[in-house]
């Protein structure tokens, strides 16, 4: 019963993560994106802790704490400071209109459900069904990167994609070995610094963080 209840909570958290992934697609304001991203990180962190508690795997607590520190506080804060300092405009333009994006998103969710169905059938783990949600989050992050034309939103899409991966790691497999998780966290941190530097570079060379400006390099020349 204990495990059954934990599975339900994980299910609800999975649903919330999926919801936030969609919310990221819909949100127009850049600070709104940051808030949603932080919420997603929070759900992720809680789900890692819940899985850790119900399975008795201690190292998941470390993952959970790491997520909390990195994705709920550090990264949104860094992005907030960057946005503030670079005076980026608050509304985000999108290439594809929002209802279409959402429909594509739905299609992607169905696709990932279909893709992971063989895995779910063999899995005996408590949280097996969340694998589809994890893959869907990855796909939705990808979609966000494609449909948004601003460096900051692309990065948020990228980080949300990374959240999906992390969710896959905790939910499908009770967490990767700690070495790997620490390494991944370190990579993300470095990536965060690099995109911070990038924002400044792009800003100084293009006077805007709009990716539309960056279409000079083409196949031919």
């Amino acid at each position: 019963m204990e495990n059954g209840f934990a599975a339900q909570i994980t299910g609800v958290l999975a649903a919330l993560i999926l919801l936030t992934a969609f919310a990221l697609l819909v949100q127009r304001r850049i600070y709104g994106l940051l808030h949603i991203f932080a919420w997603q990180g929070l759900f992720l962190s809680i789900s890692a802790a819940v899985v850790g508690y119900s399975t008795g795997l201690r190292h998941l607590y470390i993952s959970s704490a790491l997520t909390l520190a990195l994705k709920v506080f550090a990264l949104p804060y860094i992005l907030y400071v960057l946005i503030h300092r670079l005076k980026i405009q608050k509304e985000v333009e999108e290439v594809v209109n929002i209802p279409t994006t959402m429909l594509i998103g739905i299609a992607l969710v169905i696709f990932s459900y279909h893709l992971t169905s063989p895995v779910r059938e063999l899995s005996t783990l408590m949280t097996r069904s969340t694998l589809a949600v994890a893959l869907a989050t990855v796909m939705l992050g990808l979609l966000m990167m494609i449909t948004r034309r601003n460096a900051v939103t692309q990065i948020i899409g990228f980080l949300s994609l990374e959240n999906g991966l992390f969710f896959a790691a905790t939910s499908a497999t009770y967490g990767m070995p700690l070495v790997v998780e620490l390494g991944v966290a370190l990579d993300i941190l470095i990536a965060a610094f690099i995109f911070g530097i990038f924002f400044f570079q792009i800003r100084t060379t293009f006077d805007s963080l709009d990716i539309k400006e960056m279409e000079k390099l083409k196949e031919e020349d």
Partner: protein
């Protein structure tokens, strides 16, 4: 112990160089570190050659004939590139294309990049392999934007985003792999070690591994630069400093392909079929044909050779996909000779564009008259890369072709089409640059001759005669990959 020294040298080197910055001796220290790496890699290789595959560092590192040969190659090319970059980067510094901070950053990141690649090659852990690949991307991203021109920043951003997304797919593949392995091997680090995985390959769940391979293919395939995931590659190669183009093309692509091949062997072992091989053949073949035609449209000298790199990676991927002893042997040899030739070409191309202060091929002319080493170096390099005998690339491509004739005869026309078109395109583009009178905009330059000569001589030797130890070595690697 050798491995720890091998990797330690780079890390310490990166730290020292970050401290040294723009001081006079920095390039020499860079060379020294790379040379030390090379020497220790040779020691490691002889150890493996004599004693066979070995584990080290409590099972954390694993060396067999496949990865150790790539490690030696990586250390060697990084050493020659360090030698090349001494003169090249000083020229850039003098002409104000980069500043003090840029030089400090360049040297430190160069060593870190080499470290990341060696770690990716030598680690026994699939997860650490992923981390090292990501680290290799991250350490070179800001090097690509080193010149801070709009197109350089654009190229670096593309590189960062596309490779980041690509490599994320590989992480998903790793998660799936762990998911399958954990049920057989048990929880913990053990379930991610190549040695354990290969031992139980037959018992891993085939459906999960097939799914995982798709993600590995997309993930590491992006880093290999396979079509249609190749968009970042020409940009990053053309906009970054030339030594970085040389190591990206000559080494990083190899390392990514190494990761892919390891996954392929594992997955085909688990599924008991040749599914992963077929996927690689398709990707490889597309990557041979598409860039061959793109070559015809290029205007930028470094972009030209970047597309050629995609084509050659396609050839190697195709050959690994084919499987079978001959094709695998050919692919291993191809990785070696391509790496040597392509970095030599980038060295000369870098000098050529320095001489004309442009990368636009229509402005580069009369290289042989202007500077015989650069001119002939480029000429021979292109002859070699296009697959003319007696160079090594000819040998490897010929091996792959014969294997393809035997195993997949209906695919050989496509393979040949790609190779022939690339051949024609390369010569059409390079002839006008090499021959002809010296134009007015050309400046004399002291090129860095040793790396070019050494690479070209090695490629020539490999084409004429394959040393016994090397062929034995490849045979050992081929046995591993069957």
């Amino acid at each position: 112990m050798t491995i720890q020294i091998l990797l330690g040298v780079n890390i310490i080197g990166a730290a020292v160089l970050a401290f040294l910055g723009d001081r006079r001796l920095a390039p020499e220290v860079n060379i020294l570190c790379s040379a030390a790496t090379f020497i220790s890699s040779v020691f490691l290789a002889t150890g493996v050659y004599v004693n066979g595959p070995m584990l080290s560092g409590g099972g954390f590192f694993f060396v067999d004939s496949f990865n150790v040969y790539l490690a030696v190659l990586t250390a060697f090319v990084s050493m020659t590139t360090a030698i090349f970059s001494r003169r090249y980067m000083r020229y850039e510094r003098r002409h104000g294309r980069i500043g003090r901070a840029g030089m400090r950053f360049y040297h430190a990141m160069f060593q870190l990049f080499i470290f990341a690649m060696l770690l990716a090659l030598l680690t026994n852990n699939v997860g650490v392999l992923w981390i090292a690949m990501e680290l290799a991307t991250l350490s070179t991203v800001l090097l690509v934007s080193l010149y801070r021109t709009p197109s350089a920043v654009e190229a670096a951003w593309k590189y960062f985003i596309l490779c980041g997304v690509g490599i994320a797919q590989a992480l998903f593949g790793t998660v799936l792999l762990y998911f399958a392995a954990e049920r057989v091997v048990g929880e913990g680090t053990g379930a991610l070690l190549w040695t354990n995985l290969n031992a139980v390959a037959g018992r891993l769940e085939p459906t999960v591994l097939s799914l995982a391979f798709v993600f590995f293919m997309v993930g590491y395939g992006t880093k290999v630069g396979l079509v249609p995931l190749h968009n970042w590659l020409p940009d990053a190669h053309s906009e970054g400093p030339t030594p970085i183009s040389a190591v990206l093309s000559g080494l990083l692509l190899n390392v990514a392909l190494y990761a892919l091949v390891r996954c392929k062997v594992l997955v085909d072992g688990a599924t008991g079929s040749h599914k992963a091989g077929y996927i690689m053949m398709v990707f490889g073949l597309v990557s041979i044909i598409v860039p061959a035609f793109s070559l015809l449209r290029q205007k930028d000298i470094k972009r030209l050779f970047a597309y050629s790199s995609i084509e050659h990676m396609g050839i190697a991927t195709f050959a690994f996909g084919l499987g079978g002893p001959v094709a695998t042997f050919g692919a291993l040899l191809h990785m070696l000779v391509h790496s040597l030739t392509k970095s030599a070409i980038f060295f000369t191309a870098g000098h050529a564009s320095q001489m004309h202060s442009t990368q636009d091929m229509s402005d580069i002319k009369g290289l042989i008259r202007g500077n015989p080493l650069v001119g002939w170096g480029l000429m021979f390099g292109v002859m070699a890369i296009a697959g003319m005998p007696p160079f090594g690339v000819f040998t490897s491509e010929f091996l792959i072709l014969t294997a393809a004739m035997k195993d997949a005869p209906f695919l050989t026309p496509f393979f040949l089409l790609g190779v022939v078109v690339a051949f024609a395109a390369l010569f059409r583009k390079v002839m006008p640059m090499v021959f002809g009178a010296v134009p007015g905009n050309q400046r004399p330059l002291r090129p860095s001759h040793i790396p070019v000569i050494v690479h070209m001589v090695l490629v020539l030797i490999l084409g004429l005669y394959l040393p016994l130890f090397l062929s034995q070595w490849f045979h050992m690697a081929v046995d591993l990959l069957q």
